[in-house]
């Protein structure tokens, strides 16, 4: 009995301690996990975010690069970290919306995290080798239908967004193109330039310099709306596949056990960040558009995406059998 009482007391103080710390948070440096190697695109977004949060929250924010498994290693680490607000993640679409569906991860995209806000988005660009007689999305569909299985597309590997976006496109418009995986998005883009593959759905950052140099021909962007960087390029949705929308995003997420008071504080800070002109400028340099979503909107977006990829994978496996 006595022991139980002590336990209850301890638990009580423990609880009050967490609520108190949530109010005072942050009282010590915050670790912002970037699940990719330094120098990459997500790393740039992570460092811009860290710098702003540091200013806004008045605490040191340390960027901790935990690369591996296409973002799974770092995301997994955050999902298992204590939910005290001192470990946050700049997660990305691949490890959160795709990997849990396409392979086995020890975390659940919804249950293991509390999404706070998307901070940046970047569309993919449909690029083709200029020697092909394909000048528009309509041409692409016509050509692909006339030559089933003949058009080849490069991707960053079977588990990545570059593969899934084309697989979704194939399923929606009824074409069949041949998948050629590479080790990463850069070599896949380079293969479109050299003509080793015919096309790819490439990240805007990688695509822009090649489009400007006319080494590839850009046909469309994959996002729901046109990109601020290429206002003349139509979307895939407005040309051949209404409703088609694939976009790469980075967002701040916390372990699922993080108190809502802390989530709200971070959300407020990120809202200010999305309106900050300097942040916008720096994001644009990295090829990204600055974004803000509420935790509820962000959760809904992930749920929607997970659903989209799960349906697609089911369609693909049904077609195979």
């Amino acid at each position: 009995m006595k022991r139980l009482l002590v336990a209850a007391l301890l638990m009580g103080t423990g609880l009050s301690a967490t609520t108190a710390s949530a109010q005072e948070w942050p009282t010590k440096p915050i670790k912002l996990v970037v699940p990719y190697a330094p120098g990459g695109y997500t790393d740039a977004v992570g460092r811009i975010t860290a710098r702003f949060l540091e200013k806004e929250l008045g605490q040191t924010v340390i960027v901790d690069n935990r690369a591996g498994g296409g973002g799974i290693v770092g995301s997994d680490l955050v999902s298992k970290s204590p939910g005290d607000g001192y470990t946050l993640c700049v997660c990305s679409v691949g490890a959160i919306s795709i990997a849990p569906v396409a392979q086995t991860t020890s975390y659940d995209p919804i249950k293991s995290f509390k999404p706070i806000s998307v901070v940046s988005t970047i569309p993919q660009t449909v690029i083709v080798n200029p020697s092909l007689p394909i000048n528009s999305m309509e041409d692409l569909v016509k050509y692909a239908k006339a030559n089933p299985g003949k058009l080849t597309y490069g991707s960053s590997g079977a588990g990545g967004l570059m593969y899934f976006s084309v697989a979704l496109f194939d399923a929606r418009v009824g074409t069949k193109m041949t998948h050629v995986p590479f080790k990463g998005g850069s070599p896949a883009t380079a293969a479109v330039v050299s003509g080793e593959v015919n096309l790819s759905f490439t990240n805007m950052t990688d695509a822009l310099p090649q489009i400007e140099a006319n080494t590839v021909r850009a046909l469309a962007v994959t996002s729901a709306t046109r990109s601020e960087f290429t206002p003349k390029l139509p979307t895939v949705a407005e040309t051949v596949s209404p409703g088609y929308a694939v976009e790469s995003w980075n967002g701040v997420m916390a372990p699922a056990s993080t108190p809502d008071a802390i989530i709200a504080k971070v959300s407020d800070a990120l809202k200010k960040m999305a309106a900050d002109p300097e942040v916008k400028k720096n994001m644009a340099v990295a090829g990204a558009s600055t974004m803000f979503t509420t935790p509820a909107e962000y959760t809904a977006q992930i749920t929607r995406e997970v659903d989209q990829w799960r349906t697609l994978l089911k369609e693909i496996s049904e077609k195979k059998t």
């Binding site: 120098g39 935990r66 591996g68 290693v73 080793e196």
Partner: protein
């Protein structure tokens, strides 16, 4: 031709400002230091320093980061020669004869040749970028998956030549390396292979962990076991500077290595590694006394060290002319440029002439700085071998652990090093050399990737490897090399049979 010189002149005016000279020096010094520390590679260092360059002007930042990269190539041979720990895949072969030379008391000689060869190769590589950068980049565009596959096959066949002992053991080691290289996510299906459910293994086995275990710590253990080799080591350090005779012997190797490195460095992927391995194989083939290789042949240090440094310079070609990074380090430099608002792409030369020509000019300056920094240090490094081994081995073990950890900030990689140490020790007991294993490990995944990609893009037709001229030539070379390896042993066996 004239434009190149006036452009290069402009480049020197950019690179020779006091501030940019300072950045170049910082890069060269940092590069040398991390090259010397086993396991700490340019990738980890550049990523650590990347945030610090935000405040700099982009040209200065790139000059410094590039200096770290090619500076590390100078320093990387130091530990390979002194304590048999290659810091990077490109100095694996240097360890074979370099360490033997150190054991014979000729460490200074080996280090000096490595530095001089690196300097000549670095300058030559830079001249090639300045004069031929854009056309060479177009040449790499002609290389497609089947050609890469055949190039990797040539690399694997040369790996057999590396072995001093039995060809059978060498081939077994290559296959063990191929198997280890299979671990990780298969890019064709997205399935994890041989990872035992460990996400830490999904990107494959960490190369640095493998090398540190197999070479570094395993070497320490076998040294502690039998003191004999170490006694040889610090009792007779006969020469620090190479004699004229040695220099003359190494000259040809430096030239051949430089040419090989310049050529292979331009190719993405394992270009620099293949360059150093094939330079070693070439030297052993052209030598009139191939039996010296593996027992301290100076050409075995001079060739590969020149090759990897030439390759380090020319690996900038695809990045600077096409905006295509060919290695992890180059990808980091793309990141650095992007953060400074410069998108590396095909237009970079015309849009950023200051950056392009300034960087090239800084490479000449940096290479000169490196040889000036490195030559006087040789005396210090050689004296390091006089440090009692009971202290030295602790330093080696700790630095290896830090180096391994620095790659991914992952303690799992340190456990892996421990595991590979055990493997390395067993292999040593079996008299099996680890260099062919590493060659299999590095090339295996690339062979598979390019083989499968070739077949996908040819719609399943295997003739694609014979129809492409580049691929055909490389396969014929591989076949010729294979026959030349097998023939002597066959004819030897025949003479034995006849004698009986």
């Amino acid at each position: 031709m004239m434009d190149v010189f006036s452009a290069l002149g402009h480049g020197f005016s950019v690179a020779a400002t006091p501030l940019n000279l300072l950045f170049c020096l910082i890069g060269a010094v940092c590069g040398t230091l991390i090259g010397v520390l086993p396991g700490l590679g340019p990738v980890a260092t550049i990523s650590l320093l990347l945030p610090a360059t935000y405040a700099l002007d982009p040209v200065g930042a790139i000059i410094m980061l590039a200096g770290i990269y090619y500076g590390a190539q100078y320093g990387g041979s130091t530990t390979a020669i002194l304590v048999n720990i290659p810091g990077e895949s490109t100095s694996v072969v240097t360890a074979i004869d370099g360490y033997k030379m150190a054991q014979q008391g000729r460490a200074g000689e080996a280090l000096a040749i490595a530095a001089i060869g690196s300097f000549i190769a670095g300058c030559f590589g830079t001249v090639v970028i300045a004069l031929l950068g854009p056309p060479l980049a177009l040449m790499t565009q002609k290389f497609a998956s089947p050609d890469y596959f055949s190039l990797m096959v040539l690399g694997l066949v040369s790996a057999v030549v590396l072995a001093n002992g039995s060809a059978f053991r060498a081939v077994s080691m290559i296959f063990l390396g191929l198997l280890l290289g299979m671990v990780g996510m298969d890019i064709n299906t997205g399935e994890a292979r041989m990872t035992f459910g460990l996400i830490e293994l999904s990107d494959g086995i960490n190369f640095v962990a493998l090398v540190m275990g197999l070479f570094g710590v395993a070497e320490v253990i076998s040294n502690l076991e039998g003191v004999s080799t170490r006694i040889v080591n610090h009792s007779k350090i006969t020469s620090i500077w190479p004699s004229f005779k040695v220099l003359r012997g190494a000259w040809g190797a430096v030239m051949r290595g430089t040419l090989l490195g310049t050529l292979f460095g331009i190719l993405p992927g394992g270009g620099a590694t293949i360059a150093s391995f094939s330079s070693y194989a070439l030297e052993k083939r052209v030598s009139k006394t191939p039996e010296r290789f593996g027992n301290g042949a100076i050409e075995g240090v001079a060739g590969p060290e020149s090759a990897n440094n030439a390759a380090a310079q020319t690996s900038f070609v695809p990045l600077l002319t096409m905006g295509i990074p060919t290695s992890a380090t180059m990808a980091l430099l793309v990141g650095a440029l992007t953060l400074h608002g410069i998108a590396p792409g095909p237009t970079i030369i015309s849009r950023q002439p200051d950056l392009f020509w300034g960087l090239i000019a800084s490479m000449f300056i940096g290479n000169a700085m490196l040889v000036i920094i490195n030559l006087p240090m040789i005396g210090i490094w050689v004296r390091l071998l006089n440090v009692p081994y009971r202290i030295l081995y602790l330093i080696i073990a700790v630095v290896c652990a830090i180096g391994v950890f620095s790659v991914n900030n992952s303690s799992f990689d340190i456990y892996m090093t421990v595991g590979f140490t055990a493997l390395g020790y067993i292999l040593r007991k079996l008299d099996a050399e680890p260099a062919p294993l590493l060659m299999g490990f590095v090339l295996g995944p690339m062979v598979e990737e390019n083989f499968r990609r070739s077949l996908i893009t040819s719609y399943g037709d295997p003739m694609v490897f014979l129809q492409r001229p580049i691929s055909l030539v490389l396969l014929l070379l591989s076949a010729a090399l294979l026959i030349s390896i097998v023939m002597p042993s066959i004819s030897k066996r025949r003479t034995e049979v006849f004698q009986e």
